[in-house]
Amino acid sequence: MKYLCLVYLEEQKLHAVPDAECIACGEGLTNRGLLVAAEALQPTETATTVRVRNGRMSVTDGPFAETKEQLAGFYLIEARDLNDAIQVAAKIPPAREGSIEVRPIRALGPA
């Protein structure tokens, strides 16, 4: 069985835990054969929301999913830039029912 462990933090606590500690945690899980993928995210200010309604794509600034929308899945993709990522996101089928938040990955740095 696979489980997704989602990390929630207040914006001002984004760097409360040192990157090195997170890297060590990831390495520990990898050594035990438990880790599939782990990434840190850029702050919500870098987020872009993509929706498709009546076949038309809309792109807006921010992570403004409707409050009644629940996290339902994720795609970790490789894209050249945000335009590329938006094109991919718009083709994810639930984009036409809900919204796809596109958020860049943050590379963990040695503290």
Partner: protein, 415 residues
């Protein structure tokens, strides 16, 4: 150095004519807005030092790009010596891009389009798109933009900083959109330009009715866009702005009071702007791809051609509003159509349409809906209804001249 120094004047002239182009190219070469802005300032600083000694270079723009680029790379290398971080090394690699790239005139012209499309990228907040465009494309200072939009300067500065951070961190590419994306992306650019124009044309609050500089800036942007990307809707938007702008002198009395279109002295309308606007509308319509800006411009052109309000081709205007509702259905356009119907078929026909919009629950908080209803009731001698609607409009109006206009109408009803 005296202020009249000819070299210093030459530097200032080049700053005014070319600093935005130089910036646009530096952003491409350096891959970062902040670094490019710093490089631009460094380049002009060096120009002030060197041009008096060595003379103004034959191609000042190319000189500024190459000097700015050199300064930035120098700075990045110096930083790399201190920090020795891998990613700083990467940035230096990006910076030492193809040295000939900046000299290619076609990519240099494209740089200005890249800058416009990046500033108006839909992944940026709408107010950030406007602020960034005025700052980077038009070269307005943060203080000037803040003042024009009645926003505190620190709020505006923060908005610009955030937008630039998002461009960098989310990697918004510095590109002209592909043909497949162009229509949608152009729409965002046109929206930003029209918003700037409207903010200048009819400030939504405050004492001064028009903030001329913003409208002039929007028209300048519109011209630039038509020059760089002659799409029909870009022409349509420029036409629309010019045709509105042509009435500026007639819109307010000497004491700053609002004068409605019907009552304006048409001899005050700017005929050069009308001629240019009309020509652009015809070009845009000939493309057979008329969008909402072109249709609105066509309506404005019909007003501009009419010798009097009564002699306006109202039937044609109603038809254009029908077309506009087809591409862009909105209650505000329905309201405008109702006014045209009132002129064509009489106030009772227009009032029925306005009442239908309000009864549906649309535009209840829109001052012009109530002002229009009041005006139509007044023409029908329904004084009590007119007064109630004028009062409703007055309660919603924020702008000094508009409030005084409505108060005057109410007073006239009583006399």
């Amino acid at each position: 150095m005296p202020a009249t120094d000819p070299v210093r004047e030459a530097v200032n002239a080049v700053y005014l004519s070319d600093s935005r182009r130089v910036l646009a190219t530096l952003i491409r070469l350096l891959g970062d807005f902040e670094i490019a802005e710093e490089a631009l300032h460094d380049a002009f600083r060096v120009a002030l030092e060197q041009w008096p000694r060595d003379g103004v270079p034959a191609n000042p723009r190319a000189w500024l790009v190459s000097t700015g680029r050199f300064k930035a790379i120098d700075g990045i290398r110096r930083l790399a010596r201190f920090a020795a971080l891998d990613d700083v090394g990467d940035e230096a690699d990006i910076a030492v891009d193809d040295a000939a790239a900046w000299a290619d005139p076609e990519s240099v012209e494209d740089d200005r389009l890249r800058l416009i499309f990046t500033c108006c990228h839909p992944a940026l907040a709408h107010d950030a798109q406007v602020a960034l465009t005025l700052r980077e494309v038009c070269g307005l200072t943060t203080e000037e933009i803040a003042q024009a939009f009645l926003t505190p300067a620190p709020t505006l500065a923060q908005r610009i900083v955030r937008a630039k951070a998002k461009i960098r961190d989310a990697r918004i590419p510095y590109q002209v959109p592909t043909p497949a994306e162009l229509a949608e992306r152009l729409e965002a650019v046109l929206r930003v330009i029209y918003l700037v124009f409207n903010e200048g044309y009819a400030a939504s609050s405050g004492e001064s009715l028009t903030r001329h500089d913003l409208s002039a800036e929007a028209i300048r942007l519109g011209r630039l866009l038509v020059e760089l990307l002659p799409e029909p809707e870009a022409r349509g938007l420029l036409a629309l702005m010019l045709l509105h702008e042509s009435r500026r002198a007639a819109r307010t009395s000497r004491s700053g009071e609002l004068i409605l279109l019907d009552d304006q002295d048409r001899s005050l309308w700017d005929q050069d702007q009308i001629a240019e606007g009309t020509r652009l509308v015809e070009q845009a319509l000939a493309s057979r791809r008329a969008g909402r800006y072109t249709i609105q411009a066509a309506i404005a052109a019909l007003h501009a051609e009419a010798p009097t309000a009564a002699a306006t081709d109202w039937a044609e205007i109603v038809g254009l509003y029908d077309a506009l509702l087809g591409t862009d259905p909105s209650p505000v356009i329905e309201l405008n159509r109702a006014v045209a119907v009132a002129m064509r078929d009489g106030p009772a026909a227009g009032l029925a349409l306005v009442d239908a919009i309000l009864e549906r629950g649309d535009l209840l908080d829109y001052r012009l809906a109530h002002a229009t209803r009041a005006e139509l009731c007044r023409r029908l001698d329904r004084t009590a209804d007119a007064r109630a609607s004028y009062e409703r409009a007055l309660a919603l109006a924020k702008q000094g001249p508009e409030r005084r206009f409505l108060a005057r109408r109410i007073a006239e009803l009583s006399s």
